[in-house]
Symmetry: C2
Subunit: 494 residues, 2 copies
């Protein structure tokens, strides 16, 4: 995915233009050719469409019958990319929303929803997001049957799923065949660079966000050209809701600039169906930057590979040791049984724990060079240290000597302490040098003080149960389960 192998690129058609040369007609042709080839590949063919249509229609009919049996005023709507024709060939998600009138109480809605789900998907099982819903597989398609309220406006929603039908309606009204094809390209591009998906592991671009961006910029290429020049915070407001917000908060003025932007995100796309919502709220700065990076590279030297996510080859122990040798750092890892959570819960907890543990290491002088976390059955917090050992003493700055009550207390506390050097005077303060609690990172990680740092709740529980600390070459044992993650870490790409 990086530019380094551009010259050995078998599929690209970048020819002889300079990698960073200005745009030329030749390049434009290259780009069109690459895009056309990808577009062809990812577009569902007639057979795929027909098959999906027939399965979806059958399920919708079943759901409608089951729903109106219970509530005559209910209706059923297909949502998501397969409803909008923006799915990528091979995607197999059918999302069916069963809409009940808002007068229904929530308990009844949930009960009806599950009953309709089970009648629609007799083999299905229940899952739980904001509402419980039924999920199942039908002829190879992954089908969700989700109940929601049918509201007049998305601003009245009671849970996130109520918003989805509005999104589908909004986009269906704006997507023509050309834009639909470009949405597919944009999604595939984002998948290729690892920035697609609003799940909390990826923190990238959701499908809805991608579709809005393509509509807003008039196509895939327009999106790339705009993204290449983005100056975050970037605010897009397709339905000019900002006007309303400005009226609502008259204090906003030109002088304050971005200071009172209602969202503190690098990319802000005001939901056309709900002015209070940033569709890109989940999108991390890394993924905005990543899109900028790859958009620029692609516009300059179009390559089909960028549309393919390149899972790296797993790093083997020999390669890992070579990296450690070359880097001269000391990796430390905390390995424990991964809490039994969905990724949307697990990864925020892992990140919080990573932040807590690296802060705990840094605070104790074990300088963290870089760090990451990953999980499958086991979870790992990996911190690569620039400093893994500290002296036996640490400096302890006391109060200014002129603050007599504190100063006298400090002096008394240490003057007769045989383990402390000093107190002596530095500037206007007392200073002592006293034994350091942890002289090795391992000592800290293996101690109970590890639990003083901020940890995700389930991670903390898992650590209380059992964990293992790996230092230096010992992390080679992670290669078997986490070779790809280690490859991504030790051979980092944009």
């Amino acid at each position: 995915m990086s530019e380094e192998d551009a010259e050995s690129d078998e599929h690209g058609t970048s020819g002889t233009v300079d990698e960073y040369g200005s745009s030329t007609d030749g390049e434009r042709d290259d780009l069109e050719a690459v895009v056309a080839a990808v577009r062809e590949r990812i577009e569902p063919d007639a057979e795929e469409r027909d098959r999906l249509r027939s399965v979806a229609d059958r399920l919708i009919e079943r759901a409608e019958t089951a729903a109106t049996d219970r509530c005559p005023d209910a209706d059923v709507m297909q949502v998501g990319s397969t409803a909008r024709n923006t799915w990528i060939s091979g995607d197999r998600d059918i999302d069916i929303f069963v809409r009940f009138p808002p007068e229904l109480d929530r308990e009844t809605l949930e009960r009806y929803g599950l009953e309709v789900g089970h009648e629609t998907l007799p083999e299905g099982h229940e899952e739980y997001a904001e509402h419980p819903y039924v999920k199942g597989t039908v002829e190879g398609f992954d089908v969700d049957v989700v109940p929601c309220f049918r509201l007049e406006s998305a601003t009245e929603i009671r849970s996130a799923v109520d918003r989805t039908p509005f999104h589908t309606s909004y986009l269906q009204a704006r997507l023509d065949d050309e834009l639909t094809a470009d949405v597919r390209l944009a999604k595939q591009f984002l998948k290729g660079i690892g920035a697609y998906g609003s799940d909390l592991r990826t923190r990238g671009f959701s499908g809805y966000l991608t579709e809005l961006l393509v509509v807003e910029y008039g196509g895939f290429r327009g999106l790339l050209e705009a993204a290449a020049e983005w100056q975050p915070p970037v605010e897009l407001d397709p339905e000019d809701h900002g006007q309303e917000r400005e009226t609502a908060s008259p204090s906003r003025s030109a002088e304050v600039g971005d200071a009172d932007l209602p969202f503190d995100d690098p990319l802000i796309v005001i939901d056309p169906t709900d002015p209070e919502r940033n569709v890109a709220a989940v999108c991390a700065a890394e993924n905005v930057a990543r899109l900028q990076h790859y958009a620029r590279r692609f516009l300059e030297a179009p390559r089909a590979e960028v549309f393919e996510s390149d899972d790296p080859d797993p790093l083997d122990e020999t390669a890992l040791r070579a990296h450690l040798e070359r880097r001269g750092t000391t990796p430390v890892a905390v390995r424990f049984e991964a809490p039994d959570l969905v990724e949307d819960q697990l990864y925020p907890q892992l990140r919080k724990s990573l932040e807590g543990i690296t802060t705990g290491l840094d605070d104790r002088g074990f300088d963290v060079f870089r760090a990451t976390t990953f999980a499958d059955d086991a979870a790992v917090i990996l911190a690569e240290l620039a400093v893994a050992d500290r002296p036996a003493v640490e400096r302890h700055d006391g109060p200014p000597i002129h603050v007599r009550s504190h100063a006298d207390g400090f002096y008394e506390a240490y003057a007769d302490d045989p383990d402390a050097y000093g107190p002596f005077i530095d500037g206007d303060r007392y200073v002592t040098e006293r034994p350091r609690e942890f002289t090795t990172a391992r000592g800290f990680l293996e101690s109970d003080r590890l639990f003083d740092v901020g940890l995700g709740a389930h991670v903390e529980t898992a650590l209380e149960d059992e964990y293992e600390v790996l230092v230096g070459d010992e992390i080679a044992t992670l290669c078997e389960a986490f070779g790809r993650e280690l490859a991504r870490y030790f051979e980092p790409q944009p």
Copy 2:
């Protein structure tokens, strides 16, 4: 000098009161008894006084004859502590100032000054401060014969020596026998705690400053009691010159507080003879704090020892190694031939070099734990490191990716660099990890990059000539020449 050995104190009379108990009559008696004993010991007896008087009178007469031979309007004045009877028994300085009328041009003053000096001190030699002057030894006394201008007011002075006669006149008018004895005590106390002397090695309390403080606080004990409670910045203005300054700068008001104090020093004593001068300008924060510390301890538990400077026993190699073992730090030292400078020039240069080298070490990740400098024939910059080694790579944060011109340049620079990891994306920036210039403190200290840091001019020249880097146990070789300095460093006292 520390409180730790108070119990084994043979000379003190602190009896059974708590070390930090409140003041009692018993303690007050202790204090008076200790002070009386010291006072007795440091007061020059009649014989010492007579001998000094007779030598001084003889020299003054000689100087007067030589001066008026050349300039009938000249006169001669004895200055300094031996003129004011504030010298401590055993001090042997006689300072004779030859005052010429201000109409004299400077060249003539200097010529006359040297001629008078040589006639007064036939065995003397010339030295140079702001003026050249003659220095010599007469019957065991160190005698300076210094020319200056006789001015109406100290504010008209042309060089620092012109001010000295005003100081002597001011103090002579205010010192009675009791205060004179207390000045001696205060000087001896400051000597004992290592804070006496306005030379740029000590950066402590000058004789004149000490005398002013004793006058201001009405005695030795008053000074200690005041110092114990000082809240720096402390401003004393014996002649209320502040009044004049306030008139001169009407912007000064209660609201600005200390903000426009004309001096940025912890202790400010406006020279009674010159409102523009802080007599304590040279006095470092450490020495102000030191006086506060020892004043409190002495008032609480009076001990005669505090009046004796306790040069520590030299640290031997075994003790040094034991400290290094216990501390787990890595000392590094740069040893070179001491530039041939007087201490007032040498120590500021050594301190500047210490600051430069420790900053250079810190900037490269070699965390400095504590550091010092000392010199006799050789000079040493000693830095004790908490981190003496760094990994082979260092992190290099690039520009934000949205700053396209910088970002593209950064990416191009590193994308094909086989020595660099990345560029990858962290937050909104590119990051690379590239080879670190120095992985050991020794590598840096032995490189030419040492000369990129701020060094005293003569130190830089000396280093260009030759220097040696000592690391870890190698500093044991310093014990022979610098055992006391190393003892002060490794067994630090307030």
